[in-house]
Every structure is written in C-alpha cells, then in structure tokens.
Symmetry: C2
Subunit: 199 residues, 2 copies
DNA sequence: ATGATAGAATACCGGTCGGTATATATGCTA
DNA sequence: TAGCATATATACCGACCGGTATTCTATCAT
C-alpha cells in the first residue's frame, strides 16, 4: 500500500474548495480552470479523481450536505425537546452557518433554484432528494407533535411542517442577500410566532 | 418616419422571450445562439437593439419587473383594505403568477441569488434595488397599520414587514421547485397566521 | 539501485463562446 | 425610379470552454 507519487492535495479539501467556487460563480459560471486555480489540483487530476464537471459538483454538494445538512436535520429529528425549542435551535444553527463566511451558505437553495434545472437532470434530482428529506422530517415532526398534544388538533400539521421547512430555504435566500445577524435572528423570532400555542 | 427595412420581430416580444430562456437556463447557461433561436432575431440584431448579453438580460428583467412586479406592489401599497386582506391578495397574485406556465416565475429571486453575484455587479445592483423597494413597501405598510391600530403596539412592525416581504421570495422558491396550487395556497394560509390579531 | 506505480505538469483537441465586419434584402422618401 | 435608411443574413474573429493524451516526477516494493 502507499505506492506511487503521493497526492499534493487532499481530495476532500478539493471538494470543499470547489463548493465555495461553485457557490460564488454558479455551476455554469465556474470553469474547470477556475477550479484548478482554486484547488491547486491540476485539471487531469480533477478528472481522474472526480470525473467530469457535473460529477465533481455533485460530489461537492453531497459532501457539503452530509457534513452540514444531515447533522442539523438529524439533531432536529432526534431531539426530545418540545417542538418550539427544537425548531428554534434548528433555525438558529442554519442562520449561524449562513453567517459563517467560511461556509458556502445557501448552496442547497441555489442548487434547487438554478443549477438543478431541466439542463442538468441529475443535479435537479439531487436537489429534490434533499428537499424531500427535509420536508418529510418537518412534516413528521409536526404530525408527531400534534399526536403528543404539543399542537392543537384542529390545525393542518402537514401544512405547518411544510411551511417551516420552507423557512429554512428563506433563511438561505436572506443569508445570501441580506446577511446580517440581527435580521436573520429577528426573522426567526417572527417565524416562531406561527407556532400555535397548545390550546 | 418609418424609414428603412421594417423589423421582423417586435423588440418587446424579444425581451419577453429572452427572459423565459434566461429563466430556464440561467444567465451563464444561456448562449447568444440560444437567444437567436428562441427569439428569431439574428445575433447582430440583438446586439444592435439591446447591447451585449448583460444589457439584454437587464432589459429583460427590468421589463418583467415593470410589467408584473410593479403593478402588484403598487396595488398592495395603495390598497385601502385592512392589512390582512391586502396582504393575502398580494400573495395570492404572486402565487398565481408562479403557477402561470407562460410566466418566468421567480426570476427575481433567481436573479438575487445567482445571476447577481460578485461576477456581475450590475445585475447584483439591480436585484438589490428591487429587493429594497419591496422591503420598504412592506415595512411602511406594517408601520402604518400599527399607527392605525390595525396591529398591536407591542410588536416590531419592521421585523414583521421584513418577514412578510421575505415570504414573497419563499413563494418564488416554492413556485420553481414544488409548484402546485394547493401547496402554494396552503403555504399562504399558514403564513397569514403570523399576523397578530388587533389586541 | 531498479522497475513498477500513480500523481503532476504541459500541451493540446474540437467545439462553442461572446461579439462583429460585411454584404444583402426591404421599405420609405423624393 | 433613384437612393437612402435600416434590418437581416452569413461568415468570421480570437478566446476560452470541457476534456484528454503524453510526458515527467516522486515514492513505493524488491
């Protein structure tokens, strides 16, 4: 094991860097040369390591999702806290990641909106998959809360779940355009008022 | 007047068609050849008429905004109806335009998120300008409603205004990804519950 | 040392990009 | 009908695109 010339660049770092470039310039707006400059890995290396441009993008987005999105969502799903607590923690974590300049904030919503269109069916499918996971988690959480009496029985738990699921996208949009700590957090404050009280 | 060879294609139709192509493929993903095919106007004609690609995009987006966004926003601003009525009418009009397949729904949010990045400062500025107009209108409406006693005095009218302003972006996102009449309208129903009752 | 292995670096491919120069067609005015 | 003004159509430009073949270099096992 360990034969051959050692790598100059760690492939996982390459994926992280690539995601930032894609986030900054968009999929179509990013050239392979941009990625070569940013990552330090030469073009043939990128192709050998990750396949073509679209595969590289998919792998970047997947890694990003598994490192950031999945843990956040799992924490929310598995939380034993009352719904308002868990919900607020989820949104504040999303908001913090949006404010982290080292983090390509909002790439999910960007992917869903633009990269994943009819032109790139695989990217579209990836985006829809993530969207669906989030929405399902939210809806289930709200339905469970209703069963547990945390939410009044006369509301449409699914609609409320989907509403809040969509608010994480809104945070992504605001994070890219308006990003400012106070605004994101006061947005969350207002959103939380949607939660009906127990009775 | 009327000298020279007559136009084969109406420039305003060209702008409408161009916006649809940009909406479908994104700014970077759209080539001038795509636009030539879609609009029927030859490339030199496009350049003579609209300037370069970025100018054409700006003119398309501006026209779209003035034909759709401005009237909607003006109706909302000038409405004498109670706030919940005016708000719901605004959101339902936005939702309907999202569901209109002839209408490149959500190009504002797309522009803000992706086209208008550091790579295209002019597009970014245009997006920010529209964003600001909408936000200002919402904030003013909520502040006025508070003064008129339509909203309780103990809430942060600005934060509520910005929250609802952002919901029109969320409708844009949902319209592009989830578009389905029931979902958009039940999203609006839930969002409306944020409005605190008079007292 | 030496050969095998695997990444790095360079140069290169056909195609398409945004943008334009040139020539032709069409209608108005006089 | 002559001529001008304006749009259209074609062909073309250099640059850059995504992707690859080839060569060079560094590290391993032997």
């Amino acid at each position: 094991m360990g034969r051959g010339r050692p790598r100059k660049t760690d492939p996982e770092e390459v994926l992280d860097t690539a995601m930032k470039v894609f986030w900054d310039k968009g999929f179509e707006g990013t050239s392979m040369s941009d990625l070569v400059c940013a990552t330090g890995m030469a073009k043939p290396g990128l192709y050998a390591c990750f396949g073509d441009k679209e595969s590289l993008y998919k792998k970047s987005l997947t890694r990003y999702y598994e490192n950031l999105g999945t843990p956040l969502l799992d924490d929310f799903k598995n939380s034993k806290d009352p719904l308002p607590i868990a919900l607020r923690r989820f949104f504040e974590a999303v908001a913090r990641s949006m404010l982290d300049t080292n983090c390509p904030s909002g790439c999910f919503v960007v992917n869903s909106l633009v990269e994943g269109t009819s032109q790139h069916p695989e990217l579209e499918a990836l985006g829809k998959e993530y969207d669906q996971k989030r929405r399902d988690a939210f809806v289930k959480k709200f339905e469970d809360a209703q069963k547990n009496g945390e939410l009044p029985p006369n509301i449409d738990a699914r609609a409320f779940g989907e509403f809040f699921s969509a608010q994480s996208l809104t945070l992504g949009v605001l994070g890219r355009t308006d990003a400012c700590k106070n605004k994101l957090f006061s947005f969350i404050d207002v959103a939380m008022t949607v939660l009906p009280s127990r009775e």
